[in-house]
Symmetry: C2
Subunit: 239 residues, 2 copies
């Protein structure tokens, strides 16, 4: 029997209509749809975005992919997830792994992909990009993400907060992804450096719960995981 | 009569199937579709991407939006383009301005948008993001664009080549857009700094003419305008 194909599909930041035509076609054609899930096996955002597009006959495979720093725990989880996917691929079934946003930009699919490249290289992989949240955020704000000779820097806030100062140079736009855990630090720094007016906060961009703060709230204790911040240090290009 | 709505739609990097479902719905519903065109009025890449999706009854409005540095020439062109669009909007027609890639990331729609924000603020604007070429490039290479605590920097090569050295720090991935005019300079710098192996060149990503160079060619005289380079200074995250 032939092996199935593994697809990585970016399903966009929240609005099911921000899936691409290609993503939809492939998503609906796969026998098995795999998605990130929490510890209890409950599917996450990607599954919710894809839900309106799925056929009843398709099997949903939730995969627990933890967000921890323990390398051994991570390696075991990715390895187990790849084995789970391979079991279906070995039966000749096509498997679509869905990821919120894009599938190459801070997506757990990267780890799945690496497992396949190293251990199951015989499996054909196809990757279908998706709308990344910074693009949807700029669209919602009606603000250019970058233009002219500007530079765009995208970084996961929780890891690289110490780089903020360097990143926020003239002509540079900075997007901080997953800003929730370090929001207060970022707010304090923006205030101290007189940059509060340059920052915009977006939560659950394009989803039903979308919240847009054109002025930053001083305290945001209940910021969701899917929160990002755009800092535009300069006026938007020429006038 | 009510004013029409102005839509900015990112149609993706080349493959018509990389349009979003929302982009398709809105594109097909607009009476008028406006697109960037060259000096002779010939529509550019965006129109080619959108072509399979258009209805016969829709009117295509090519807009000449020059790539020059003369501010007066630019201002006149953007102003004229906005006036052209407004003429239809004032008749109550919905107008969709299409842009290759995303509509907020180095897109001429930014200038159109500014004209409307300043001179025709009474017109409702809606922006629909699109797949940006760096995302499609990473998907084609089956390489993560960024993961873990990495930082992604996207810059237009022709303007910021002097920033390459600073941008290519450990843990940073750099995407140079529109690399064609400065390709030889970039190649020379990559070679001198022993980074040739870290760089990938993609032309017309996802389009029929797509060319992928996993090893950089020494000379690339005929690189098309839509060429980008990804530099990954480090091994892709943990193994």
């Amino acid at each position: 029997m032939n092996l199935g194909t593994l697809y990585g599909i970016g399903v966009g930041p929240g609005d099911p209509e921000l899936l691409t035509l290609k993503g939809l076609r492939v998503l609906r054609s796969a026998a098995v749809v795999a998605c990130p899930a929490d510890r209890t096996g409950r599917p996450g955002l990607a599954a919710r975005i894809a839900a309106p597009h799925l056929r009843r006959e398709q099997r949903l495979t939730p995969l627990y992919l933890p967000f921890v720093s323990d390398e051994a725990v991570l390696a075991a989880a990715w390895s187990a997830a790849a084995d789970t996917l391979y079991a279906d691929l070995a039966l000749g079934l096509d498997v679509a792994f869905i990821s919120e946003g894009d599938v190459s930009l801070f997506s757990t699919f990267t780890y799945i992909l690496r497992e396949f490249q190293e251990r199951y290289a015989q499996v054909a992989v196809r990757i279908i990009p998706g709308i990344a949240s910074p693009l949807a955020a700029a669209a919602a704000l009606q603000l250019p993400l970058a233009i002219g000779d500007e530079t765009l820097t995208i970084l996961p806030a929780m890891h690289r907060i110490e780089e903020l100062e360097a990143a926020c140079a003239p002509g540079r736009i900075v997007v901080l992804l997953k800003v929730a855990p370090v929001y207060e630090q970022v707010y304090t720094w923006l205030k101290a450096s007189d940059r509060l007016e340059q920052a915009h906060l977006l939560c659950w961009v394009s989803a039903k719960e979308e919240r847009i703060y054109r002025r930053l709230p001083a305290a945001a204790e209940r910021l969701p995981y899917f929160s990002l911040l755009i800092i535009r240090p300069e006026p938007a290009a020429r006038r």
